[in-house]
Each structure stands twice: as structure tokens, then as C-alpha cells.
Symmetry: C2
Subunit: 158 residues, 2 copies
């Protein structure tokens, strides 16, 4: 469950920040696309549909604000764009989910896994390094692309 619009308004007010149309719309776009991983430009395009007057700089500033409020997460796929996704509230905070990135179709999927806790405990006791956050990216081929590739290879062999 990602954040609710009314909760967002409340958070803004508590921090002495102003509730603006632009901030609400950016959050809404992020909430509507909770499985996608949008770049600032993509958020901008979607926001512009109903709000043609908004500026790209405002999208960047809002996204920055949402990051500071820990309402969204950022992912960097090293393709030249930073992507944003709405957070899963408290659950995400110290238990960030991981990403599967398909090298063929470019799709990004999220998944949860507890296996890293053991890794973090090991790092703590072996190296004295106190882990507070982690980022895991697994690159490869998604189910669809794996199957397509297999089929193509079979056809070649015939």
C-alpha cells in the first residue's frame, strides 16, 4: 500500500510546506504507475496531459522532495536516467525490495527477499561494517524473453 493523497497533504502541512496542485499531481502519477519505474521525463509527460503548464524543473524538484520525505525510491539502471517508484510505506524503509532487470525487453520487476539479512549479519560480524541500507540488482532475461529466445534457437536448428 503506497501513500494516500490526504496523508501526503498532512505530511506537507506538518513540515510547513505548501500543498500545491503540482505536488499532488506528481504523486498521483507515481501512484498510478506503481509497478513501472518512471524517469523524470516520463513523469513530466504524464503530468502534462492534465496540467500542460507544469515545468520539468518542478517535476525534478517535487521528486527530490518526495525522496527526502522517503515517500518514493530511486533506481539507477545506468542507462543515463534515474527512475522513481512509489514506496511501499514503512515496509520499504529498512527492507528495500530488489530489482530484476531484463536485458532484452528492459522491463524492471521488483521482488522481496529476506536472504540479504543473513548477508548483512555476516558482514557485520566478519568485517565490523554496520549495514543500514542495500541495493540489489539482478540482470538477466525475464520469463517471456527467455522463452522467446529458446523458441528462436529451436527454429534456427530445424
Amino acid at each position: 500500500m503506497s501513500i494516500d493523497k490526504e496523508d501526503f497533504k498532512k505530511i506537507l502541512k506538518e513540515k510547513g510546506l505548501k500543498v500545491t496542485r503540482q505536488r499532488l499531481v506528481v504523486l498521483e502519477v507515481l501512484a498510478e504507475n506503481d509497478t513501472k519505474h518512471l524517469t523524470a521525463e516520463e513523469i513530466y509527460e504524464r503530468v502534462k496531459v492534465e496540467n500542460p503548464d507544469i515545468g520539468l524543473a518542478t517535476v525534478y524538484r517535487t521528486v527530490q522532495l518526495l525522496l527526502e520525505l522517503e515517500l518514493i525510491d530511486r533506481i539507477n539502471l545506468d542507462d543515463g536516467y534515474v527512475r522513481y517508484e512509489i514506496g511501499d510505506m514503512e515496509k520499504t524503509k529498512h527492507h528495500r525490495h530488489h530489482h530484476l532487470i531484463c536485458l532484452k525487453c528492459g522491463n524492471v520487476m521488483a521482488f522481496q527477499n529476506d536472504m540479504l539479512e543473513a548477508l548483512e549479519t555476516g558482514v557485520q560480524s566478519a568485517l565490523g561494517f554496520h549495514v543500514t541500507d542495500h541495493e540489489v540488482k539482478l540482470y538477466g532475461f525475464c520469463k517471456d524473453c527467455s522463452e522467446k529466445e529458446k523458441k528462436e534457437n529451436q527454429e534456427v536448428k530445424i
Copy 2:
């Protein structure tokens, strides 16, 4: 064991590429700093000491070449710079090591761990996603910084 200069020359020749002073020096700097994680600018500064005529663009082009030859790895710490480190030859190829990034002193340490193989197997069987590569970054506080912080907190309490 990272790559040897003579092996590098051989690889270049095999690919029909030319052995230049610049390429050798960039590789040398990377080899000398195998525990550091240098940015292109940092490589440039070190290369310039003995080779004042080299251009930054050449460093970028060489680093790109070394990546394509899979002789070095890239790390992105999301601080605006891409960093490069010399690879551990074959071992690294399908068994990339992970990074511990200290949020206080900024140090980056590498470590190896086999735990992720189980994770990859799980992802394969549960989701049909075929993993070919991964990148794991653990953020937190290194041993020194953890201890310093503890000490500071004690002093405050006195």
C-alpha cells in the same frame, strides 16, 4: 590477480587494436589502485603525472575500451561519477563481487560472497527469470566510522 601488461598488449593485437602509450598507462594506473575505485577524472590526474600531454577524452575512451574487453568493472555510487576498478580476471566474470559503501567516510570496500547464488536459483525457479549478472551495494558505516561514532556518543553522555 588482475591483468598483466603483456597480456593486455596481446589482447589488443589480437583484436587488431593498436598498443599505445596512453592505453598502457591507463591500465597501469588502474592496476596500481586495485583497491580504490577511481573516477575518470581521478585516473586522468594520476596518468597526467607522468604523461602531461594526455587528454581526458582519451581516458574516457580507454576506460570504455577496457570495459568492452571486460578487463575492468564499473561501479555507480549515485554521486555523479562512474568509478572503475580493475577486474579479477575470469573469477569476476560471472561472479562479480559486491561493495560496501561507508556513508560517513565514503570508502568503498569489495567483498565476495556466494550467498547470492541461492537467491538467483530461487528467482529462476519461482519467476522464470534467468539471472546472468548482479550488482549488490550495501550502504552503512565501516568499522572505523562505527567505532568513532560510538565513542562520540559516549563522550556526549558523560
